[in-house]
Amino acid sequence: MSDQKLIEIVKKKTREMWGAKPKEVNRALTEVKGTYGQSFFAALYAESTTRDLEMTLMSVRDMAKQEGVGLSTLKLFLKNTLECNLTYLEWGGLDDTVALIREVCIEIEKIDSKESLITILEQLISYFNRLNFWIDGDMPWFQLVGVYEWVMKEV
């Protein structure tokens, strides 16, 4: 697959999920069951991993714009970062995102310029940022905060 094809794949996925909430968001928040059948931690993993990935990839993008940071190092760092987070994306029920990232990880080796790498990074950053916004927007934070504050006072 060429760099341009990979860029187009990620761009297309980002466009699809920008305006319409991806189905995997509902799955992440309510359908994936963890210990003792609760879905809370899957939701937490989905929210935190997408947010962390967006910020980490933003950092990699900043590094890529520096002189003296080699393409092969950046590719290795990107691949490792994505692969490290795959488990948490899976536990978070984000199966479609996992499939996309697996595809990206396979193709990273073929990226042959920093410009292409930066473009792919920017697409991934936008993707994870928007996905996080979808998840964050459906989390019942107000109620969770209320329970947390109450429980911590009781403890």
């Binding site: 967006e54 933003m58 940022n129 916004f133 964050d136 927007g137 989390m139 934070w141």
Partner: protein, 133 residues
């Protein structure tokens, strides 16, 4: 005439002026991306602020930390457009590029609602025939 944008959130519409002298590149970048639509997420640490995701990359410009009520800024780290509906001491630098001049009260009402139930639909668009300030 100073260029203006409209912010629609929930049942409210507000008008903001662009601070083009202070943040020309940010204003241009934001204008090119309009209309912007998304669900508002409330800030978890900063205070009276909500933000929406944008698909654009802009460098930090006119950096500010402390925010007045009605300030609108671009947050490079999170590719987000931030609307401050209360005075906020701030946690990091963002690119201040606009200021609400009409119906800040409506923005404040919706901001509070967003804290209780996030993901209120927001649409930001350019006002082609700006009203007088």
């Amino acid at each position: 005439m100073v260029r203006q944008i409209q912010i629609e959130i929930g049942n409210e519409k507000a008008v903001a002026v662009l601070l083009e002298e202070d943040a020309p590149k940010t204003c241009e970048g934001i204008l090119k991306a309009l209309p912007l639509k998304g669900g508002a997420i409330h800030a978890k640490f900063a205070g009276g602020e909500f933000y929406i995701a944008t698909p654009i990359f802009l460098e930090l410009e006119n950096p500010t930390i402390k925010q007045d009520s009605g300030n609108i800024a671009y947050w490079p780290t999170r590719q987000s457009l931030c609307i401050f509906y209360k005075e906020v001491p701030g946690l990091g630098e963002v690119s201040l590029f606009a200021k609400v001049i009409k119906n800040l009260e409506g923005i404040q009402r919706e901001g509070l609602k967003c804290w209780i139930k996030p993901s209120t639909p927001v649409e930001i668009s350019e006002i082609r025939t700006p009203t007088g300030v």
